[in-house]
């Protein structure tokens, strides 16, 4: 079967093309969905890509969460289907209440674009089955607000539910508990700062991002009727 991905595009999103290309290389059929659309096309997974939705002139993601399309994204998530928010996409999903905690300014108070090593903290999620627990993946970050934070109660729930999927080996932004990516409680929505689509080709520096995107496809195929 061919997996189908809807990539949500806000004014100011800018990683939608890269996500489409990286998923396309894995055999996924992708469709871009403009933020004013009320619904989503029939799809297995939703990607909220990186960028600067609405210019990030307000708190990141604070305006995007009101876009009409977000209702459909919520419904998709509530149905237990996969949603991945990358970078600005994670910020939007946080603002939309689909993921716990918040993303603050980097502790260095500078934008940071660099390759990072992230360690797989939980290989039993739909986003990490192709990797092994403890495996180090080389995936780049590119953000100003990637410093994940939450209160103590939320953190203990996040730990108890094993929601943390990736941790930085060398924390680039001050994120609490070195969190580079985590899921919601149900485990079907992932937010991550590093860009897996940028780590999809050896020529560009790493193929490790394919493990993340590929894990999602495995999950989707497993659900599909035989």
């Amino acid at each position: 079967m061919t997996a189908r991905a809807a990539i949500v595009v806000f004014p100011g999103s800018n990683c939608e093309g890269d996500c489409a290309r990286a998923l396309g290389a894995l055999g996924v059929a992708t469709e871009l969905v403009w933020h004013t659309d009320e619904g989503l096309p029939d799809c297995d997974l939703v990607v909220v890509p990186g960028g600067f939705a609405h210019g990030d002139y307000l708190r990141t993601g604070a305006i995007a969460r009101f876009s009409p399309v977000m209702g459909a994204v919520r419904a998709h998530a509530a149905a237990g289907k996969l949603v991945i928010g990358i970078c600005n996409g994670w910020q939007i999903l946080c603002e939309a209440g689909l993921l716990p905690g918040a993303l603050r300014r980097n502790s260095g108070l500078k934008f940071v674009c660099k390759w990072t090593d992230i360690r797989v903290a939980n290989a039993a999620t739909p986003f990490s089955t192709r990797a092994e627990e403890g495996q180090v993946l080389r995936v780049p970050v590119n953000h100003f607000e990637g410093n994940w934070y939450c209160d103590r109660d939320v953190l203990s729930r996040v730990h108890a539910n094993r929601q943390i999927v990736f941790r930085y080996a060398d924390n680039p932004n001050g994120a609490l508990d070195d969190v580079a990516g985590l899921t919601n409680e149900a485990g079907n929505v992932l937010g991550m700062m590093p860009h897996p689509e940028r780590a999809s080709e050896a020529l560009l520096g790493s193929e490790d991002g394919r493990l993340i995107l590929g894990s999602m496809l495995d999950h989707v195929s497993a659900l599909a009727p035989a």
Binding site: P11, G12, N14, C15, G17, D18, R21, A22, W34, G51, F52, H54, G55, D56, Y57, K110, F111, V112, C113, K114, P140, N142, H195, E197, R198, S200, E201, L203, L204
Partner: protein, 730 residues
């Protein structure tokens, strides 16, 4: 109108007389404002045009040369790119964040105006020595401005350079280069077809940036320059991002008859230039221009440099479709005028005609000056002065001093603030000789480098310009690319001073000669004069943007040493006396004097051909050019990039000359031992000296006559700039 208004607008008495003659009457205020921006140095190139016309600009692969929004080059058969560099020096000094940000926005729209999708940015920056509080404020602001704007519009900033010298302390240089891929039909900045309409697309028009071209870019600075802050434009990257997507859709659907960006000079510029080029005229209705504030006078609307705007010429039958596409991209599009056959630009506002002037008078027939040019006397003293080529007390300490000097030291602090990866094309990113960008939908790649060695140019602008071209081409060649075309930004002082004008003409002559010899035509560029504050000019600084072509992105060669035990080879000849304008002379002795390094342009070209062929034959594991700091520094940088040391012996009797002389035409390359013979044969065939100097590997930079632990050297290099920029900024 006051008798001296024209002077406040930057027009001379003679220019006013000329305007009155052409109109047969006194100009209205709006007309005077339009002339002041169109005849400004920045827009008209009145001091430089005569000289720029001498540059080589033709070639089979050159699709569009100088004079349009950007040059267009066919890099491999069937794949064309648009490529240009522009300055935003003065705005960046007055207001560093917005000045630099709008510099990015401006060059991106130049590329967009050709119908090309912007896919890469590079920055060539000049500041005073970091560590000084004001200089650090400028660096932080400029880098932050480029970062916030470039990152948000989704165009990767893939490379560039930053050079520090006290002559730039009161006049930083911010030159931005942009590359675009031509996806469909090329667009032209021509208003053909009377009856077609002008559609203004993008941001609303406000009072920001009034007189940017005439007030900021075309006059020297003095102590009151910070009062010019209102003349700096304010950037809105979200609007630019939407503008890019919306306009590319309009171009892709074939809805544009003519297309041009609004930059310096506001709407006056594209209206005048597009009609002048097409031999048509225009009626512009200012009441239709969407504005961000009430009460603007007609002249303000005509010359406002509000950002993120484009002007399209559209067939009336297509207007509805054009406006619908604009709306979908959340852009405002307004029909603001019509093309006429009259040859005149008529501007109406509030039911009155506020301007009625010949289009050619504004554009094509702007003044051209042949300004006086005299070789300055100080040059003799500079030539006679010491270059600073004495031996150091301690070679190891000298190496560390060079590695930690801001110009040589790692600029990671800068480029980590830039998104250099978006677009999935960055094969080689910042910090290398040249960036290598794979082109969308193709196996081919381009290599891009910007270089401008001001310290050579101040000693001899002709030789300096040749060296700038040679170095930029060498940088591109080190990645395995073939240098194919040049864009340039010429940064100089006040052209009304004969010494500055002499340096300018010598630079253009050197640029032309070197480009001719290397077969890299000049496809356009930008001239920035009046880079002076309180009478002190910057070094003559021609920034060369070199475009290289790689048939296959997979052939690209990096600068870092790749494996252990591989052969290290020095290509090219070292001239022991090449210390004039050198980094060694500056860092060790505070010297600036003598002659710039001697350039044999044929030997340089041979080296580039050798590197290209060796890369295509997959003979090279790494390649890095020798420039500031000589072979000693070049080897160290290759070691840092590869995370391993080396053991070499350099030819020559005096260690410091072997290590630090800045002879051009050289590169340090590594290859597997098995390929050494093939590389040597190839070098011999190209008549390039190739000396096996040692092997890669180990934890030291071992030059034979001196060795430094890799970790120690790398720390000096990686902290040299970052520490000085961080000390005074919290």
């Amino acid at each position: 109108m006051g008798a001296w208004v024209h002077r406040e607008l930057g027009l001379t008495d003679d220019e006013l007389d000329s305007i009155v003659r052409r109109l047969g009457r006194d100009p209205t205020y709006t007309e005077l404002a339009m002339f002041s921006v169109m005849w400004s140095e920045h827009c008209s190139y009145k001091s430089s045009r005569k000289h720029l016309a001498t540059l080589p600009s033709r070639g089979d692969h050159i699709i569009i040369g100088p004079g349009e929004g950007a040059g267009v080059v066919e890099v491999v058969p069937g794949v064309a790119v648009a490529w240009k560099v522009e300055s935003h020096n003065h705005p960046s000094y007055v207001e560093p964040g917005n000045g630099a940000a709008t510099g990015v926005g401006g060059i991106v729209r130049d590329i967009l105006s050709m119908g090309a999708r912007p896919i890469a940015l590079l920055d060539s920056l000049r500041f005073g020595a970091p560590g000084d509080a004001h200089t650090n404020y400028l660096i932080d602001g400029v880098v932050g401005g480029i970062s916030s704007y470039g990152n948000a519009i989704g165009v990767p900033t893939v490379g560039g350079e930053a050079v520090f010298d006290s002559c730039y302390a009161q006049n930083p240089l911010v030159n931005v280069a942009c590359l675009g891929i031509v996806e469909g039909e090329l667009q032209q900045g021509r208003a053909e077809g009377p009856g077609n309409v002008f559609v203004l697309i993008g941001s609303s028009t406000g009072r920001d940036g009034i007189g940017g071209a005439s007030v900021l870019a075309s006059a020297e600075f003095d102590a009151g320059s910070s009062e010019k802050r209102p003349a700096v434009q304010v950037g809105d990257p979200l609007a630019e991002k939407l503008l890019i997507e919306g306009c590319l859709e309009l171009a892709g659907r074939g809805l544009l008859v003519g297309f041009q960006d609004l930059g310096a000079g506001g709407i006056s510029c594209p209206v005048a230039e597009m009609t002048s080029k097409a031999g048509t005229g225009a009626i512009v209705d200012l009441d239709q221009v969407h504005r961000r504030e009430p009460g603007m006078a007609p002249f303000e609307v005509m010359i406002s440099e509000s950002q993120e705007r484009m002007l399209a010429v559209v067939d009336p039958a297509d207007v509805d479709e054009v406006l619908a596409i604009c709306e979908r991209w959340e852009l405002v599009g307004r029909v603001v005028g019509v093309v006429t056959p009259t040859g005149r630009v008529v501007v109406e506002g509030g039911g009155e005609v506020v301007a009625d002037v010949p289009a050619d008078a504004l554009a094509e027939e702007a003044p051209i000056y042949d300004r006086a040019s005299i070789r300055p006397g100080e040059l003799e003293e500079l030539s006679a002065a010491e270059p600073g080529d004495g031996p150091p007390e301690d070679l190891g300490a000298a190496l560390l001093a060079l590695l930690s000097s801001p110009t040589v030291a790692s600029k990671r602090w800068i480029w980590e603030q830039y998104d250099h990866m978006i677009g999935l094309g960055t094969v080689i990113g910042p910090g290398a000789d040249a960036a290598v960008i794979r082109l969308p939908g193709s196996e081919a790649a381009v290599a891009l480098a910007v270089d401008g060695p001001g310290r050579y140019c101040v000693l001899d602008p002709y030789e300096g310009a040749r060296l700038a071209v040679a170095e930029a081409a060498r940088n591109v060649a080190c990645t395995g690319a073939r240098p194919v075309a040049v864009t340039n930004c010429l940064n100089f002082g006040n052209p009304e001073k004969p010494g500055v004008m002499w340096a300018f003409t010598e630079t253009v002559r050197g640029l032309g000669d070197a480009c001719e010899a290397l077969g890299t035509p000049v496809t356009g560029g930008n001239v920035s004069f009046y880079n002076e504050t309180e009478g002190r000019a910057v070094f003559p600084t021609p920034v060369i943007g070199m475009l290289g072509a790689l048939e296959s992105a997979a052939d690209a060669v990096g600068m870092g040493l790749v494996g252990d035990g591989e052969a290290l080879v020095l290509l090219g000849d070292t001239g022991g006396s090449d210390f004039g304008g050198s980094e060694y002379g500056k860092v060790m002795w505070g010297a600036l004097g003598g002659r710039p390094p001697a350039l044999d342009i044929d030997a340089e070209a041979a080296l580039h051909r050798l590197l290209h062929e060796a890369a295509r034959g997959h003979l090279l594991r790494s390649a890095h050019d020798c420039s500031a700091g000589g072979a000693g520094v070049a080897l160290a940088l290759a070691a840092f990039a590869g995370g391993r040391g080396f053991e070499v012996e350099l030819p020559g009797d005096e260690p410091h000359r072997s290590l630090f002389a800045e002879s051009p035409g050289r590169a340090v390359v590594s290859c597997s031992r098995d390929d050494l013979d093939a590389l040597s044969d190839l070098a011999a065939r190209h008549a390039v000296t190739a000396v096996r100097i040692g092997a890669t590997g180990g934890a030291a930079l071992d030059y034979g006559f001196v060795a430094v632990p890799l970790k120690v050297a790398e720390k000096a290099w990686s902290t040299g700039f970052a520490t000085s920029i961080s000390t005074t900024i919290d």
